[in-house]
């Protein structure tokens, strides 16, 4: 194994659930408020999943109060507590940038309704 890969391995998050672009996921990030630490959830559609090793990141988009919000999370950051897959989505692209221009019914991703009836069990990261 490559030496640099071996160093990265120590920092990788193990047990993250399988997800693809198009899936709706919920990310629980640690947030410091003064002394206290709490978890903040960010739920949205995965637009993009890129990089490998410690550089792996995912872009998650949600519409909050009518405003589109995108956040890029470093997957292996210790700030991320765990990730839940809320819904699997069926898409034909790896980068879902086209969603940015769509709203309402058009922004829905196929395959969501099916999985709504049988919600996939949320997998929890260690």
């Amino acid at each position: 194994m490559n030496l640099v890969d071996r160093i990265e391995e120590a920092y990788l998050k193990k047990g993250a659930p399988n997800f693809r672009p198009g899936d709706t996921i919920k990310i629980f990030a640690k947030i410091r408020e003064g002394e206290k630490e709490r978890l903040q959830a960010f739920e949205g559609v995965v637009l993009r999943h890129r990089g490998g090793g410690t550089r792996e990141t995912l872009t998650v988009r949600k519409v909050s109060y009518g405003v589109g919000v995108e956040r890029i999370f470093p997957l292996h950051s210790p700030v991320i507590d765990h990730i839940e897959v809320v819904q699997k989505g069926k898409v034909r692209r790896a980068r879902l940038y086209y969603l940015r221009k769509l709203s309402g019914r058009k922004a829905r991703i196929e395959g969501q309704e099916q999985s709504e009836k049988t919600p996939s069990t949320p997998q929890t990261a260690s």
Partner: protein
């Protein structure tokens, strides 16, 4: 006092701090370096340690060096480098210096040989701005004027011209040690280091108490040996 060690650049990556801060790091394999010769004031006029890095086959070593290594009886090495010390009394020939001379948070300087870039123009090599790309401009990446007129009547020294770029000794200073892995002889430095992967680098540690770091393990090994 400055500790210098030889090492090889292994590549770059990024690691996380506990609060999620991403730290860009260069991975270096540093040492172990063996002390081959102690240069002392009374014999050589200055105090320095000659360190060897990476063992070599005896038949790969030149005859003069073979004589030098043979006298010291500490093995044969591919790379030799001398480091000046205020005093070399704390060290002895045959002693092995490793990354334990470094600690997280230390500031180090690293010297390496930059990647050779071949014959380059004045824009890449000297940072000149060149001309416009379009609008009929016939002046794109050329150096332009290199001087004035009858006075001074010559091209000033150090005028940037096209030519060979890279492949030169460069030292990056004030790099912070992000992590030390003594069991693997690895040193992770925050930031970039000159040179290609597997390139030879020289690491200087200017911390004052590094000599003490070498004393402790020595004592431990003595204790272990006395017990066994």
């Amino acid at each position: 006092m400055t500790l210098g060690l030889l090492g090889r650049k292994k590549g770059m990556t990024q690691i996380f701090e506990e609060d999620g801060t991403i730290v860009p790091v260069t991975v270096l394999e540093v040492g172990p370096c063996t002390v081959i010769q102690r240069k002392e004031k009374k014999n050589d006029g200055y105090e320095a340690l000659q360190l060897g890095f990476e063992t070599a086959k005896p038949n790969r070593v030149s005859k003069p060096l073979k004589g030098h290594f043979g006298k010291k009886k500490v093995g044969f090495f591919r790379n030799l480098k001398e480091f000046r010390f205020a005093s070399v009394n704390d060290f002895e020939v045959g002693q092995i210096l490793s990354v334990i001379g470094f600690q997280t948070g230390d500031t180090v300087d690293v010297q390496g040989i930059t990647k050779g870039r071949g014959f380059q123009g004045v824009m890449k090599k000297e940072g000149k701005h060149g001309g416009p790309d379009a609008h009929g401009s016939g002046f794109h990446r050329r150096p332009g004027s290199i001087g004035m007129r009858t006075w001074p009547g010559k091209v000033l020294k150090n005028m940037g011209m096209p030519g060979r770029m890279g492949g030169e000794k460069v030292m990056t200073t004030h790099l912070k040690v992000a992590l030390v892995k003594p069991e693997e002889n690895l040193l992770l430095l925050r930031g970039a280091v000159p040179g290609a992967r597997e390139g030879l680098v020289i690491i200087y540690n200017k911390e004052k108490d590094f000599a003490g770091r070498y004393k402790q393990p020595e004592k431990k090994s003595e204790e272990v040996s006395s017990q066994g």
